[in-house]
Symmetry: D2
Subunit: 347 residues, 4 copies
């Protein structure tokens, strides 16, 4: 099939390498996609850094990367729904299609989930092969860099949909990319008042740009008091926890009204301590764990919100590089004190 | 207690009369409100015109009117939650507080509902007495004419909440005041795409001003085809029927996707003909009847949406009169070819 | 492949014929099933009688029938989930897998739905070929005649699930097989009080056997009054309309409490007249159209309820015949004054 | 007003004392109730034992007790809904009626909640005064000891309603009275399969009597494996955590399927450690905190389930005493190795 440029985790250990590798072959139910734009996720940093999680999940050599937009250039013989020339964004979670969840409209929590760029070859490359099922045809004229963000943004559409923010007061804890997308989605999906919390001033500026009515420094000792006051004296209706920090989790729960809804999306790196009695039970609160994107309810909704201009993630894109500048892109993300949202790469 | 100016339906028959009547006395659980602004509802026209419905409901003499904003000037001895000087808007539906619905968080469909300005003295007057339970304290600084519209706008908040429009494609059928409020609410509560339908060009202009993405003439022979096309080829997710017209009801159902939601708010004047098999059952659709405002979920949400500027009904207010100019106000509403949304009166 | 016995609609016009036809061939995603038990649906009578609906849908020659249980005897080359020897019941609705509904967990209202025994060869035969997707593996030891009823019973599981009957007062209108299954499902799924309505005394006896707390003759002039009284004075929480009769539809709506839920499943043969204002809107009621079975939520739930003995449809099976006695089975169903629930055929 | 017998916490410190105290006087919105039967709650043991919680909440002297049935003997002048002779059970949570939750159909999580027998005089006495709002008129002919259990049983109705058990597989963790009531309610409200877990063999016997399909010893090292197997291989749909134990909380979460629902009711005595990443987020699970009884949705539903015989708590009542034998009742509850469910006292 020829060769292509790709970012490869060649051996166990930190770092990655720009290499020439074989262009992937496709199976009967797959499509081959020419990558047009790809963005970098926190997960990619874990793989680059080779932390404990990466060591447990990754088998080298692996082309990684899982957020991208591209053009279909070849389709497998069983594929009826896509054609060469179609522009797509891709669901990175490959479901088995057979388990209990897959047959219950819950493919996003499939028992046998495989992730592109983690368990199979990813998109930091010129070409990538994916199951046709996972390729989402984007609306005509969509900017490639926006289309490359649909995978991570879809998580936030999912978070915001579960939270039912329409007409509600909403606080977003953590304004990394996931929190910024959630801020934009909550704005688009009808939050009545939207407060964003982070300890990084650059990120709070981005949250403002994404539609937060108020931004609050997470280190403010009166954080909870301020949120309670802003929301009319009884706490916010909804807290979206996008950071995974123990402190943010507790603050988010305590900023909620009685009967309020907490959505857990940020992944804590270790078990948390939780005052289940007071922070949950006795206040009649609910905690909803959210992972992935519902296939394809969240994609349909996201496409619509983007098409009508209700959701526009472009303020979050702060840096653009060529794929070959991958190391420079990683260095930018790791640098302190830089206003860094999403970084998009162009092969 | 002294006397006051009021619009009175003095005797059975068409018309109304500006009279001097006794200022109402209050009971132990009531408050007396000095009316600052009051708006005219379609129901008031039924009473003025003395149609069959009015004849069945109204006992003369009656001060009518039920949409208003005012200042509390006196409180009954059992009233702990309100004080003279408080600015309020008023829930016109007075629930019994004891029936099955009232004890189930559904006071808006109380078995013994009494309506201000229909079953008891209303607000087309300088003063009106209402149960303290029904007085909603508005946010400081709210424009009186906006506050006078909370009662009818609350219906539309209710309609839009039941319909769950967040992230959905939504068509509004009928752009009289109820439909215009619904358009604004659906915009504020996160509709992804919003289409308004009416046969009156002035009303469609107002719908645009309230946030419709597209407006369509209801007489368009390809109305359903256009809505299906606009919504991606499978029909809209949600149709809000605000007109009560047989034709609009059928069009609204047929513009829905399979599995879509139809909310019925407009009151047909006679039984309708419905193809229940094809328009509902075989397409797995749902029809939700909505009446009144949930007390006080819809008020809380409406106040928030207004406070944050997400909802602004002012484009709908097309005319303002003094209360003493009531006949002129009625004539304006009845006149053909005039761009007429809501008419507000100032005592 | 050889030949088999089948019930065939050979030519347009009333009747059917027992013939020897070719055993069906299977495609790569299909399975071939040896039919063990099959039951007769109202739809089969429409086909037999050759009414207007049948004339519009059926192309002869056609083996009809769509409710059945059997054993997998051959699988297509792409089929990984089933094996010869597996015992299955079959979802008769074949979804396309590609449309908006199919990609939204709503395959049961697929845009391109094909029905076994209507649009493709059915199960009144010794063998039938179906897509593997539609074959539901039943629990070991399930009685064949019960397994043959899962298709029609699944409709009622769907109806009852949409209606949310748990802890509620429920009235079932129409005690043909669909209403009898719904009665059993509502009992199993936790209705607090369950009332069945029909004009046929035999059917009311079967409703009792399926778990109705009270049965009421639909011709009772005080039907609504009785239901309101039985349900504590304010009407039932939920009405399940399983008959399609104009009169039953109106009675069902009027027996509901304010805010109650009406589920429409019975298909009226012509448009209905509906007092939308009073029977729906002003009482804040909802009407939910239900068709088909959710794939496979309703199957999972039904299997569980059957396995644990919470649901047992056997009282509904009143007659058993050999497949070759098809004409006699039809005659039994058409005979007046007979206690007839479901008729099961054994090839 | 005369005097009466009562169980009094006279002074800070362990124990209680049977005393003669003044019969309570009623306010204008109260009713005076002659106690017919009263049952003992875990909370009463905390008060008796004078633990840290009790020390923080109770001001002596206090008549305690909050679960009871009785007859109205006097009504305040504003009370229109109750009359002497009415038989009632009583909601122990007295809401303020004015806060955000109270005006949102969520009185059970009122900001100013006062609890009978904790913050005001309770029911271990011959008479008790309560707000008329809190008195629930029971169905005629209800056995007094059953009516005395409606308060604690209502918690479990609430738990089971939030969990949406109809047609689902359900595991109950902890078979003290709350778990036993939940078992009975889950059975009545349509659980498809119901598993009860406890380490006490007597309690598991009671769980069987209340309708558990299977009971499992909580110390079984393969507890999770057994629950997963019983529920078809993917875990239970719903886990009801009624014990408050750290170990049970973790087991309950891990016995859930992906996407399953955990209801937290049992109050842990200290913060818990929670693997939020794996046990909640990455499996898309939800944790719902439940407290109190929804007023009066849960009462209505409970009354219906009791009236129709779908729910019968009598197996849980293991001991009966006279009120004067209070010390003996307490001793029975505290005794190890006794089959003890609920203890009912008769004044």
């Amino acid at each position: 099939m020829g060769t292509m440029l790709a970012v490869v985790k060649a051996l166990p250990g930190p770092g990655a390498k720009i290499s020439t590798v074989e262009t992937p072959a496709i199976g009967p139910a797959d499509v081959l996609i020419k990558v047009i734009a790809t963005s970098i996720c926190g997960t990619d940093l874990h793989i680059y850094n080779w932390d404990a999680w990466a060591q447990s999940q990754i088998r080298t050599p692996l082309v990684f990367g899982h957020e991208f937009h591209g053009e279909v250039v070849e389709v497998g013989r069983e594929v009826a729904t896509l054609h060469p020339g179609d522009r797509v964004s891709v669901e990175s979670h490959v479901p088995c299609g057979r388990c209990h969840q897959c047959t219950h409209g819950m493919m996003h929590i499939c028992d046998e989930l495989k992730i592109i760029g983690v368990h199979r070859a990813g998109c930091f490359a010129q070409y990538v092969a994916v199951p046709a099922l996972c390729a989402w045809k984007v609306s005509p004229g969509m900017p490639p860099e926006v289309a490359s963000l649909m995978e991570p943004m879809g998580n936030s559409v999912h978070v915001v949909s579960e939270a039912q923010v329409s007409g509600k007061t909403v606080a977003v804890f953590g304004c990394g990319p996931a929190g910024l997308f959630a801020t934009g989605c909550a704005r688009a999906k009808g939050a009545a008042a939207l407060y964003a919390v982070d300890i990084n001033r650059h990120r709070l500026e981005l949250a403002k740009a994404m539609g937060a009515d108020e931004v609050i420094n997470g280190a403010d000792p009166d954080l909870i008091g301020r949120l309670v006051k802003l929301s009319g004296g009884y706490g916010v209706d909804v807290a979206l926890e996008m950071s995974g920090s123990q402190k943010a989790i507790v603050n988010a729960l305590r900023s909620l009204k009685k009967g309020g809804t907490f959505v857990a999306f940020g992944i804590p790196s270790r078990p948390i301590e939780l005052d289940l009695a007071n922070d949950v039970i006795l206040n009649g609160r609910r905690m909803l764990g959210v992972v992935g994107r519902r296939m394809f309810e969240d994609w349909v909704e996201m496409q619509r919100l983007l098409d009508g201009g209700k959701l526009d993630p472009r303020p979050i894109i702060t840096h653009r590089f060529k794929l070959a500048e991958f190391e420079q892109a990683i260095a930018t993300i790791r640098q302190d004190g830089v206003k860094c949202g999403k970084v998009v790469l162009f092969p």
